[in-house]
């Protein structure tokens, strides 16, 4: 028989073997489903420094939960005490048994139930410190557990307005998880009480219990309870949200090795889905809540994805703003997962005979405005003025005939249509021999960078204009205006361009601080990404964002996306300008919105004359 055996260890041992076997198979299947090209990345990355940095991240995130700490220290402590505390308990438990038994192959359960097998706290190298530490770790975990229980019932103090809803397996896993450590405490205390051993926690409690309880009789059932709780937890783990614990570690490695979520439901995408801890941090950051939508929140979307319950409405109901990803401690690619579920939901339009036949024009620089810029001609007018000032040779490629960049189709899950459009534009761009492509639309920018493979530099017009300013080819017109800058989702979170527009504005006007800036900037509500919200819901989001932007009473709102500009114009109390219009000084007509008032003033005089004649 086994060396350290007692029937009560069975639930634990069975649970443990089950979870190892399950994870082994599950991860293997996932790795197979990752696909060949992506697997190559693993092969390349596994023996590089990337692996080391993944180990570091596993330590920081899976154990210490640094990112959650940043969002909310109390919540961070809760997660850390459970994960890191348990880790320490296992690690030191193992070290303890090793230094005592000096048998490298002692079974795992020996360390877990050490106190049962060695109730009298045997002496070994540094054993006093060891027992002291073990008691502290347990206390550490229990403190976090208390917080977790409080959180279930009162979420507000953790800075989250809504905690996640529970399902059956989650409930089972949660209950067993909550019981593990209190049972361990009882088992150790009873044993300490019976054998007059133990330390500041187990020892003290033990002697207290011994005073009024038959600890000798209670001790054995308590060990059973502890083992059962562990066993139950392990068995329910794969079907509960706690699957995130092992999967997140795998995910961290895969991500470090450079894997890409791609456009299909691959093993990597699955790993992301399973890595969601349902911490719920994303809920408060998702503006769908402002629009009165609760089902489509990122955490519930991921849950539905895991349970294969995503319906078209759920797939389409997302602004693709990326605010969830910005705050998600696991850094799940939530936007892309949503796009994956959109594939083939709408019939792909296959008729493209309307695509115009065009000839590329030779130029050094191409300016592509995009469909949205066609609706905001003020931006093009400003760009033309600045380009003329700079003396650069720029071809305004889509001024006459314009073909969409393809991104809206990609967002709607129509990959084939998108490729047709992309091919059309690519030929024009490469045909012109330009070395630089500039666009004033962040939505186009994203697709140019990610899908076009142009082999030439691609810049957003804020970057281009800043470059022209720095090389003194243009001189932004001074404007004594207080400007609140809105970071477009697709430019900021999408392409990490935060500073260039600000520097450009600062070179000629006064930038004021706003409430939600840069990574935390809100969505204008006009997102092309959401095909589900109605106009009223979009307006709710728009109002929230306008309020945040106008809190400091700016003279104007500036942005660097034609879609944001168009959306804000609907109800902004102050004029909305593109950064190019500010630099070009073509904003006067907005500032007296008022060109109409001017019109009116003239009219008055005229009407006056008429009346008198």
């Amino acid at each position: 028989m086994m060396k350290f055996y007692d029937p009560f260890i069975l639930p634990f041992v069975i649970g443990l073997y089950f979870i190892f076997a399950y994870l082994g198979i599950k991860f293997a299947v996932m790795l197979i489903r990752i696909g060949k090209p992506e697997r190559k990345k693993i092969a390349k990355g596994i023996f590089s420094v990337k692996t080391l940095s993944a180990v570091k991240e596993v330590f920081l995130e899976a154990l210490l939960h640094k990112r959650i700490f940043k969002v909310n220290p109390m919540l961070g402590y809760m997660h850390m005490s459970l994960a890191f505390g348990w880790f320490l308990l296992i690690l030191f438990g193992k070290i303890g048994t090793l230094s005592y038994s000096r048998d490298f192959f002692n079974p795992i359960h020996y360390a877990i139930f050490f106190k049962y097998f060695e109730p009298r706290d045997p002496a070994f190298f540094y054993s006093k410190t060891y027992f002291l530490l073990m008691d502290s770790f347990l206390l550490f975990i229990l403190s976090g557990l208390t917080l977790a229980i409080v959180k279930r019932f009162r979420t507000r103090i953790f800075g989250m307005k809504k905690t996640t809803r529970l399902r059956f397996f989650d409930r089972m896993a949660l209950t067993s998880l909550w019981l593990i450590f209190p049972f361990r405490l009882l088992a150790e205390s009873f044993t300490s009480g019976a054998f007059q051993s133990g330390h500041f926690l187990s020892g003290t409690l033990g002697s207290v219990f011994a005073g009024f309880l038959p600890v000798e009789n209670l001790m054995y059932p308590a060990w059973w309870a502890y083992s059962l709780a562990l066993g139950f937890f392990f068995v329910s783990l794969p079907f509960s949200r706690y699957m995130h614990i092992p999967t997140e570690m795998l995910l961290i490695f895969l991500r470090k090795w450079g894997l890409d979520t791609g456009t299909k439901m691959s093993g990597y995408a699955e790993a992301q889905v399973l890595s969601c801890s349902r911490c719920g941090i994303c809920i408060d950051n998702c503006q769908l809540k402002t629009a009165g939508e609760t089902q489509a929140n990122p955490v519930y979307f991921i849950q539905a994805l895991r349970n294969q319950q995503v319906n078209p409405a759920l797939a389409m109901n997302c602004l693709q703003c990326g605010r969830c990803e910005e705050i998600c401690p696991v850094k799940i690619d939530i936007r892309q997962l949503r796009l994956i579920t959109r594939q083939h939901l709408t019939p792909d339009q296959s008729d493209y005979h309307y695509l115009p036949v065009e000839q590329p024009v030779k130029a050094d620089v191409i300016f592509f405005g995009g469909c949205m810029t066609h609706l905001t001609p003020g931006i093009v007018a400003a760009m033309k003025k600045l380009v003329a000032e700079s003396g650069e040779k720029v071809w305004f490629m889509d001024e006459q005939e314009s073909v969409c960049c393809g991104r809206p189709q990609l967002l709607a899950g129509e990959a084939e249509s998108a490729m047709r459009l992309i091919e059309h534009n690519r030929q024009l761009i490469t045909g012109s021999g330009a070395k630089l492509l500039v666009t004033s639309c962040p939505i186009c920018l994203t697709v140019f960078v990610r899908e076009y493979n142009l082999g030439i530099e691609v810049l957003h017009h804020s970057q281009y204009l800043l470059r022209l300013t720095r090389s003194q080819k243009i001189r932004p017109k001074p404007a004594l205006l207080k400007i609140a800058y809105h970071d477009p989702c697709e430019l900021g979170r999408g392409n990490a361009i935060y500073e260039e527009p600000r520097q450009l504005i600062n070179s000629s006007a006064i930038l004021v601080k706003t409430k939600h800036e840069k990574q935390m900037s809100l969505c204008c509500g006009g997102s092309l990404g959401n095909l589900q919200l109605n106009a009223d819901q979009q307006n709710l989001i728009l109002d929230e964002t306008l309020q945040s932007l106008t809190a400091a009473n700016p003279d104007i709102i500036a942005t660097s996306c034609p879609l944001c500009k168009k959306t804000f114009q609907k109800s902004s109390p102050v004029p909305v300008l593109d950064i190019a219009e500010i630099a070009a000084g073509t904003w006067q007509h907005y500032i007296q919105p008022a060109s109409q008032n001017q019109e009116k003033a003239n009219i008055h005089e005229l009407a006056e004359n008429q009346l008198m004649n």
Binding site: H374, P377, I603
Partner: protein, 363 residues
């Protein structure tokens, strides 16, 4: 003396002037309070009126002369900033001082034009030859219709529904008068510039008033104005500063591209700033279209949710002049009824009690 009830009418446009005249005729003491230094409101800016091409100034002169014949107190350049209820009366404040105490208030603060720069794809303020319908009236008044280059436009396009019936602008309502305004302006254009082609781009033609449909027919038959059904998707400026417009003729299903020398935006009507501010300050309800909400569209079209506060004219919805006049007169009747019923009610209440007591005694 103390028995004469005092009424404040806010806004000296068509609605405010007509309400004041009628209330005065009914024997009330009326203060007509206008924020600007002149009376007349928007109509002061118009050249000729639909449907009969009557010069707007002629109409206004008549209204103003009727007003002068009354003893309505005209107070121009006054901005009312605060309201206070004192029992049944309303106390109005101008700056920080008390301006007057009134038994009833009529809000006739009218509309504002949709700010055309909010519909940026049409290029107002960006392209030199894009103007609004109000701007065209100005040109009519000045009797010179010229492009930015100083030439007579050979082709003019009138765009309907700018800032109305447009979810993207946040306005779902129809501004009601801009279709017929376009017909009127198209005819005037053809009259003033016989060699100029005029195109109207519309979604529906809303010819709701008497002889409007006839005018529409006249525009087509007599003045050869071309009406094209389709919303303009975008406009661009050509090198010669003419405007290239793109649309789809939804009747023939053809894509259409056209150059015009002048593009006129038929801007919609929104509640004026004054209407919104006064509505908010006095706790009035607003409708879906953000104009002031009346108690009942059919039967109490001047009453509001606030006792003693009434609305007249385009502060409650887009309307033409004849509807404004009717609405203003109805407002005067409603105020009169309100001021009389309060006394009457008190009287009948007493009567009822007396009758009740009598009945009890007889039992």
């Amino acid at each position: 003396m103390t028995n004469i009830k005092k009424i404040a009418v806010l806004g000296g446009g068509v609605a405010g002037m007509e309400t004041s005249i009628q209330l005065n005729r009914l024997g009330y003491q009326v203060d007509l309070i206008e924020i600007e230094d002149k009376l007349g409101g928007h109509v002061r800016n118009w050249y000729k009126l639909f449907p009969d091409h009557k010069p707007a100034d002629e109409f206004l002169e008549k209204l103003i002369s009727n007003l002068s014949a009354t003893d309505v107190q005209i107070k121009t350049s006054i901005q009312i900033n605060a309201f206070l209820r004192k029992e049944k009366k309303l106390c109005l404040f101008d700056q920080a001082c008390e301006f007057g105490v009134y038994d009833a208030v009529v809000v006739a603060t009218g509309f504002d034009l949709f700010e055309a720069y909010r519909k940026e794809e049409y290029g107002f303020g960006i392209y030199k030859n894009v103007i609004t319908s109000a701007g065209l009236e100005t040109m009519f008044l000045g009797k010179t219709i010229k492009t930015s280059g100083g030439n007579v436009p050979k082709r003019v396009g009138l765009v309907h529904c700018v800032g109305s019936r447009d979810e993207k602008c946040g306005n779902l309502h129809c501004s009601k008068v801009c279709c017929i305004t376009a017909v009127k302006q198209a005819i005037t254009l053809r009259q003033m510039l016989p060699n100029t082609e005029v195109f109207c781009f519309y979604m529906d033609m809303r010819m709701f008033g008497p002889s409007y449909e006839e005018l529409y027919r006249e525009a087509q038959e007599k003045w050869a104005v071309r009406f094209i059904r389709g919303r303009i998707s975008e406009a661009a400026q050509n090198a010669d500063e003419t405007i290239l417009i793109k649309t789809e003729d939804t009747l023939t299903g053809r894509q259409l591209k056209m150059n015009v020398d002048l593009l006129v935006l038929m801007v919609g009507m929104l509640p004026s700033k004054g209407t919104t501010v006064i509505g908010k300050k006095t706790g009035l309800d607003f409708g879906m279209n953000r104009f002031l909400k009346v108690k009942d569209e059919h039967y109490h079209a001047n009453e509001t949710n606030q006792e003693g506060i009434f609305v007249a004219g385009s502060a409650s919805a887009p309307m033409n002049i004849s509807d404004t006049i009717s609405h203003a007169r109805a407002a005067a009747t409603a105020v009169d009824h309100y001021l009389k019923t309060t006394d009457h009610e008190r009287f009948s209440e007493k009567n009822n009690i007396r009758n009740l007591e009598k009945a009890l005694h007889e039992k």
